[in-house]
Symmetry: C2
Subunit: 581 residues, 2 copies
């Protein structure tokens, strides 16, 4: 029987409850956002006793559906001040699914000390974990695997979370146990830090497995989505993602003039070729070590991840994604993959979101803290964060905070969350997503790059403002659904282009939940979640003025297209007008 684990950090009690009826057909983001909406006072202090953290595997996590090992973490974000759902691909999602844990709700606050939540088939327990505080995530994983066995699933926060920094993320292990998969965005690691929950260990030995209500339907849907993933050029074996990883996008976005460089001051980076997916593959081949085509969780058939090697071929770190090579590369003017890998590794160890970290360093460089392109300087800045020095406190609280500390006006954030690797002035649909998503600037919330750049799911001119509000709304709605399923967002590529793929997605979900949704319901289901998220933010004090681009993007022209962000406020306000009612 599916269950809810409720962890009260104030009195350190753990209860196991049945899943309330109204949550039965939810999972992943739909569930975390719903529970945060229902249980967290919208105007509470994100680091105070009334915030909660909700951890929910996607509906299909733990089944044999392909690439479905995603886990969602929700709460009120100390970075944005609004609702947050941040997700990751990890075996932990699958283990929770197999244990039939629908969600874990962490509430209250321990007065002091650090604790570990241990979950297995027999139940859940809170154990003291003061020994883990202050450690790097790699050390924590090492300790916990030694204690609980190699097959454990581990969630932890790093020192950034201990320090309650707004860029403190939540780290999950990958297939081989690396502390490398992050629910990174929005500082939910700081919320766990404020509660005193340092880590979670999940042991699924002897677990009952995911209950599938209609096994035939599951099989049918599974085959459809597997076929779609395996036949689409972006996701197929030896396709773009599998071969080069997500960083295949570097040269594509650079070519399009939408690759934000040196704190979003231009849309092209002279070091793109040295830092893109092709260069990562070359390093793997030349150094005879590391790998591309790596999967973050078992059962992934896209496998876009990688392990980057040292010059001697030994393993260095995982993973250099598109976002991380951009954030810590082009955005800082750094054209050296080994330095970028070092910075990624530091983020992993310290417990930081690589996007926010890179946007922050870019802002710090623009403020003159260190010069652009100073890779060794950037490594030192990360070390400041690890030590929690005053400069580290500034940087660890993210790009907006850093810009404010230094009196900057060029701070590329929305709702105080740093913008990802697509320039909104050059790719306007993604700009609408950044600006209007309840999550703050987030590319995954409505990835219009698909039609605007990749001609997937239709085709749209990236420079044109026309129709982008509608485009972004449709993508945000579909995404909110996908984020509930457990499927990786990259399944959207085949699913958008291949109708039977979308059928397979919905059928597998129906087979587990017992629902009878059709592909036509996807948008409406996603909008239900978005509406709750939007309402939470409104209750938290957000207004239309929070759905705005940074002021300077309205008047500073971005080379090479010399474009400003020219979708009007009135147009932007149309996106959620239906929610006002």
């Amino acid at each position: 029987m599916a269950k809810v684990i409720r962890v009260n950090m104030t009195d350190r009690t753990v209860t196991v409850e049945p899943v309330p009826e109204q949550y039965a057909a939810l999972g992943g983001r739909a569930l975390t956002s719903r529970v945060v909406y229902d249980e967290v006072p919208a105007n509470c202090h994100p680091l105070g006793p009334f915030n909660k953290i909700v951890i929910a595997p996607g509906v299909l996590a733990g089944t044999t559906a392909p690439s479905s090992g995603r886990i969602s973490v929700g709460g009120k974000s100390p970075l944005t001040g609004g609702i947050k759902e941040s997700n990751a691909g990890t075996p932990v999602a699958q283990k929770l699914g197999r244990l039939q844990v629908k969600m874990i709700v962490v509430e209250g606050q321990a007065e002091d000390g650090a604790y570990l939540l241990k979950l297995d088939k027999d139940g859940a327990a809170l154990l003291p974990a003061d020994d883990l505080k202050g450690k790097l995530t790699r050390e924590i994983n090492k300790d916990l695997f030694a204690k609980y066995g190699k097959k454990a699933g581990i969630m932890t926060i790093g020192v950034a979370g201990d320090f309650k920094m707004s860029n403190g993320g939540i780290c999950f292990n990958d297939t081989e146990g690396r502390a490398s998969r992050y629910a990174g965005r929005g500082g939910l690691g700081a919320v766990l830090g404020s509660k005193g929950l340092k880590a979670m260990v999940v042991d699924d030995e002897g677990s009952p497995g995911v209950e599938i209500k209609d096994k035939e339907l599951f099989k049918q849907g599974q085959k459809k989505i597997v076929d779609a993933i395996r036949s689409h050029p972006v996701t197929k074996p030896d396709g773009a993602l599998n071969t080069y990883g997500t960083a295949v996008l570097v040269n594509i976005l650079n070519e399009a003039g939408g690759y934000p460089t040196r704190n979003f001051s231009t849309g092209q980076f002279e070091g793109a070729a040295q830092t893109g997916g092709e260069a990562i593959l070359e390093a793997v081949k030349e150094r005879h070590g590391g790998m591309t085509g790596h999967g973050c969780h078992p059962g992934c058939i896209i496998r876009c991840s990688n392990v980057y090697p040292n010059p001697d071929g030994s393993e260095f770190t995982s993973c250099i994604e598109y976002e991380s090579t951009w954030a810590l590369g082009a955005n800082c003017g750094i054209a050296n993959l080994d330095i970028i890998a070092k910075l990624v590794d530091q983020c992993n160890e310290i417990g930081l979101d690589t996007i926010e970290a890179g946007v922050t360093i870019g802002v710090a460089m623009d403020a003159g803290v260190i010069p652009f392109s100073d890779g060794e300087g950037a490594i030192r800045l990360m070390e400041e964060i690890r030590q929690g020095t005053p400069l580290g406190r500034i940087l660890g609280n993210g790009a907006w905070f850093t810009g404010k500390a230094y009196g900057l006006t060029r701070i590329p954030v929305v709702k105080r969350q740093g913008m990802p690797a697509y320039e909104p002035r050059a790719v306007k649909g993604i700009g609408v997503t950044y600006i209007t998503s309840p999550m703050g600037a987030d590319h995954t919330a409505g990835y219009t790059i698909a039609p605007e750049i990749l001609a997937v799911g239709g085709k749209a001119d990236p420079l044109s403002p026309e129709g982008k509000v509608e485009l972004s709304r449709a993508f945000q709605a579909a995404t909110a659904f996908i984020d509930t399923t457990g499927y990786c967002l990259f399944t959207a590529f085949p699913v958008l282009d291949i109708p039977s793929g979308m059928e397979g997605m919905v059928e597998t979900v129906n087979s587990v939940l017992g629902t009878t949704w059709t592909t036509n319901d996807v948008g409406a289901l996603g909008l239900e979640t978005l509406k709750l998220e939007w309402r939470f933010n409104k209750n938290a004090g957000f207004s239309k003025e929070d759905d705005r681009p940074p002021e300077y993007m309205r008047y500073e022209k971005l080379p090479p297209h010399n474009q400003v962000f020219d979708i009007s406020d009135e147009e932007l306000d149309k996106i959620w007008a239906a929610f006002e009612a």
Copy 2:
């Protein structure tokens, strides 16, 4: 003829314009708030090119009306993100009044460099002032008096403004030329810093003087308000304010259990007696130096200011007000007047609001940066701000920013502005003012301490939540009017208790403006200004959630009365309900 000086920092032009008809009957805060509402896009970046600074002397500044040398500075605040009016008592107000300068509007942004605005009877000019950058305000005043003569009036920002810190204030000289009178709250010095306007020199030699439309009425009103001030126990010669200064309140508030101590963790300070007004007077007498009964501008007949002496009797600094001895004393657990004087002096030199600085240090102490009561440590923290180190960048951006840097939940701010020296849990009307004022936490915005503690203008139980919304609204409205007149807010004590005093205030205003207001109009006139301020904030994205106490004050009981802040959100929302229409 009254005029408007418009300074465009982008192209460094200065124009002199006639006063638009609709601004003719305004002055001080009514004028700055109106122009900010009319001309500044509410959602602009406070440090960007679209914000403006409006400087306006009060209506009576420059006349012989008593205690009327106040000047208002308005703009969008980088501290609160909302509208801000901050005022000071200074000869500069009077000189501008006599030059018939109704207001100065500073707009645009210089690309680089620092500039000085020179005003005299012949007009206005912008001059390069790079030599002033990075200097302490005391050095700036010394340089400028040497260059422009001892009779000049000087406005300047300190390094805090150069650094664009959210606690950068605007410094005006006092009667003897000290750099000691501040439009301190809300970081408007940072806005001047962002524009490149470092200083202003006002020379009123040969000025026409304030045009008084009805000289007989002026005389009549002047006599009434002089008589009222001279007869009220709080403001009369050798009365409480004149003898002890504003710090006469220290023991009174401490006795009432409403004197916030060690970052608002208790309402009584064991070092109150050593740091109050009586102790200041004793130091002046024992050391045979310094003075109490000092006036911040010529013509003040209250004279609540002081000059604090060194142990050898020589002059140290001016002035140790109630707010500063509290902020840098009790709130930091520091019970030593000489250390407090040093901290006040550092604020003056660096260009900081003493309230925000003290609340910030209290927060930093609570976060463990230095221990409570560590006076030498506090002096070092101020030095960090002066140098603009990373820690200085944190502290210079105020209490909210510092609390956020260290992940604290006990941050005594509203709209991110630090709370002044009255505990809202022990004196609930002032709590309503803090929470609902468009200015952020500000005692001067609606000083209900008068009836709640001093039995002036009626009598109210400080611990009771009853009727406090109405009380605060009435005080906020009256204050918004007084802040336009040029009269010091302390004239409110006699004016509230003595009907002819209020008549005198209104008559003197009428005599200059040609208006025919009665004492019954005061509230409505004040509400007009408050409504514009509230609307500006709403347009800037503020919601009811910004009119809330810090969460912890709802559940952490304050000794010795063990009270929480128990006026409900619904009750608070009534205060400006009429503005919603």
